[in-house]
């Protein structure tokens, strides 16, 4: 026999309980018995059982009633019904109520072995299903987005609310803030969760290819189109389409997508036939779409169509209180993935992580922790392990505009002065109110760490 199980035999006849008890002992199973349904429920309340053998005919609570209680309260527990010849009808009823199998007593010893074999198989399948479900949950679960700051709490609160509707959502946030994770969480919480979630980065695909990816084509539509091909708008069928960097798509594509959103129909490239499509659209942008509207590179009608609900994902520098939590999460992740066992950061390292600006946001923090874990030789990550961040912070990146240079310089002096505005203003040669105005303009905050 395979694994040992925890089994309970529920029968009002002591002789039957004894027979089962001794039989299961011979297989090394941990066996308990109960003389009534009430006693069985009491025992189930105290500890978990893998399998129950339940006699269908018992005074008081009968086997079928007990089965209902078990299936309602402990659905993971397998139940095999024991019945006498002539009660087949009850056995069938029990099977319909969720019993895994039934035994007609007295039965041949090999029958119970067959039943046990079947239970083992069901148990293994259940365990496999649970494992795969957990793996899937790992990819989509809501709490994959880490944060307890007020800014993130607002986002968390919005996710279940917006998930219920089918409205188009615009996620606005800098690169690396976790827009796709939020989109996945919305999808996972929505009624479309059992359908595909298809993410497309519009900025990474040339326009002609993007059109083909979205709409598909028919054979002969263009050179190389040697067979019909479905686009993601069809493939997503009932699911969620996530268009990242929506600000990068051309005016023509905006018109095409607007039409799809209005009509819920598409035409494959080269085809005159329309096909109905059913999907929810979530768009994301790291650029200011208002700026694009002003510049005339983004259509107003399309903008209002995709911006039914806007969720702003805050950059990491605006939720620095989440950094320790995120660091802990990434430490656990990379300690598990690598052979290193770094599982904490010291105060010096924590100070660096909190004072750094994180232009690449959570993604940059994740990369930084991964790099530190891989290169670290001890269990505790120190300031030294994150020294590359200091260098990056101090270096003035090339090719930036004067405005960016000014912002960077003010930030550097402000950090150097530990957030002391008078001292910063003195060094910069400007007065406090000018410094205050500039800080507001650039979204800079006093870092008191």
């Amino acid at each position: 026999m395979q694994d040992r199980m925890r089994i309970m035999v529920v029968d009002d006849e002591m002789i039957v309980r004894e027979s089962f008890y001794h039989w299961f002992n011979k297989y090394g199973h941990e066996t308990e018995t109960a003389a009534s349904g009430d006693e069985a429920l009491e025992k189930l309340e105290r500890r978990r059982f893998d399998l129950l053998f339940v006699d269908i005919k018992m005074p008081g609570m009968d086997g079928l009633e007990l089965l209902d209680h078990i299936k309602a309260r402990y659905p993971e527990t397998f139940v095999v019904i024991i019945t006498a010849y002539g009660s087949i009808e009850s056995a069938v009823k029990a099977m319909k109520s969720g019993a895994s199998d039934y035994l007609l007593k007295p039965f041949k010893p090999e029958h119970i072995n067959l039943v046990m074999e079947k239970i083992f198989q069901q148990k293994a399948l259940k365990a496999e299903y649970q494992y795969l479900k957990n793996q899937f949950g790992e990819m989509t679960r809501f709490d994959n987005i880490i944060g307890e700051s007020p800014a993130m709490t607002r986002v968390f609160d919005m996710i279940p609310e917006v998930a219920e509707s089918d409205a188009t959502i615009l996620l606005a946030g800098e690169t690396g803030t976790g827009k796709e994770l939020v989109a996945k969480a919305i999808h996972a919480k929505s009624s479309r969760a059992n359908h595909p979630f298809i993410p497309i980065n519009c900025g990474a695909i040339p326009e002609s290819l993007l059109e083909d990816e979205l709409f598909g084509h028919i054979k002969g539509a263009f050179t190389g189109a040697d067979k019909n091909r479905q686009g993601f708008l069809e493939i997503v069928c009932g699911g969620t389409l996530f268009l990242d960097e929506i600000g990068e798509i051309s005016m023509k594509m905006q018109v095409d997508l607007l039409r799809v959103l209005e009509d819920r129909k598409i035409k494959r490239i080269g085809s005159n036939q329309t096909t109905d499509v059913d999907f929810r659209l979530i768009c994301a942008t790291s650029r200011s779409l208002d700026g694009l509207l002003t510049a005339g590179t983004f259509r107003e009608d399309f903008y209002y169509r995709i911006n039914v609900i806007e969720i702003r994902i805050p950059p990491l520098r605006e939720r620095k209180e989440d950094i320790p939590l995120l660091t802990e999460h990434f430490l656990a992740k990379y300690s598990q993935q690598t052979t290193k066992h770094a599982d904490r950061v010291d105060r010096g390292a924590e100070k660096i992580l909190k004072s750094y600006d994180w232009p690449g946001n959570v993604r940059e923090l994740e990369n930084a922790v991964e790099r530190a874990v891989v290169l670290s030789k001890s269990r505790t990550l120190t300031e030294r392990d994150f020294s590359f961040l200091k260098a990056a912070s101090a270096a003035v990146p090339e090719g930036r505009s004067l405005i960016e240079m000014e912002k960077h310089h003010i930030k550097a002096i402000l950090d150097e002065c530990g957030g002391n505005m008078s001292q910063t203003a003195r060094i910069l040669g400007i007065n406090r109110s000018t410094l205050y105005q500039k800080m507001n303009k650039y979204g800079l905050h006093r870092n008191m760490d």
Binding site: M1, Q2, V9, E13, M14, I15, V16, R17, E18, S19, F20, Y21, H22, W23, N25, K26, Y27, G28, T31, T33, A35, I82, K105, P106, F107, K108, P109, E110, I112, N113
Partner: protein
């Protein structure tokens, strides 16, 4: 080897009409496979209190209780041999029954004498089956569980067909268990205790 082997003697009790040769064969196998001495205890009649008149079979559990009630001196493990067919209440029949990690077991020779088609088996077949069932039940007395290895003596067999399919030997894992320090008895409490 079985721990404290020198302290163990297996007492064989013929209950009803048991051919002397079967006792000799089983005794020889216990010595050969388990390296344990045996002694033949006084033969007994079939206790009628153990007969289920509806089923016309003897209750294996009751026979074990009967063996427990007999004080057999100088034997640590007792194996009863019954000519009649045995049952336990949940099963149609059993070829043998033993107390897991206990001291008393019983085997039935009734079904070992016939082939599946109802014809009488040869003596060699009958003796070999008797030895297999005896060594299997003794395995339980030394706290061996049923084994997954379908060739092992401790693999469960409820029919003559499956009994014939297993080999007259313990698998390496069960053999190691017998040769190593014994596991503590699984259950010291009863089914309702």
């Amino acid at each position: 080897m079985i721990k404290d082997r020198e302290k163990h003697t297996v007492g064989l009790v013929a209950i009803g009409r048991i051919p002397e040769m079967v006792l000799k064969v089983i005794s020889g196998h216990i010595l050969g496979y388990l390296n344990l001495p045996t002694c033949c205890l006084p033969a007994q009649g079939l206790p009628q209190a153990c007969l289920d008149e509806k089923r016309l079979q003897y209750d294996a559990g009751k026979i074990i209780q009967h063996l427990e009630s007999c004080a057999f001196a100088d034997c640590t493990k007792i194996l009863g041999l019954v000519e009649a067919d045995l049952f336990v209440p949940i099963f149609t029949h059993v070829l043998g029954e033993a107390q897991q990690g206990g001291d008393h077991a019983v085997i039935s020779l009734s079904r070992l004498q016939y082939r599946n088609n109802g014809t009488r088996s040869s003596e060699a077949e009958f003796y070999e089956r008797s030895a297999k069932v005896a060594l299997h039940e003794l395995g339980h007395l030394f706290n061996l569980f049923h084994c997954r290895d379908s060739h092992c003596l401790m693999h469960f067999s409820g029919t003559i067909e499956t009994l014939d399919a297993i080999e007259l030997n313990y698998c390496p894992a069960c053999r190691n268990f017998l040769d190593g320090p014994r596991r503590p008895a699984l259950a010291s409490i009863g089914p309702d205790g």
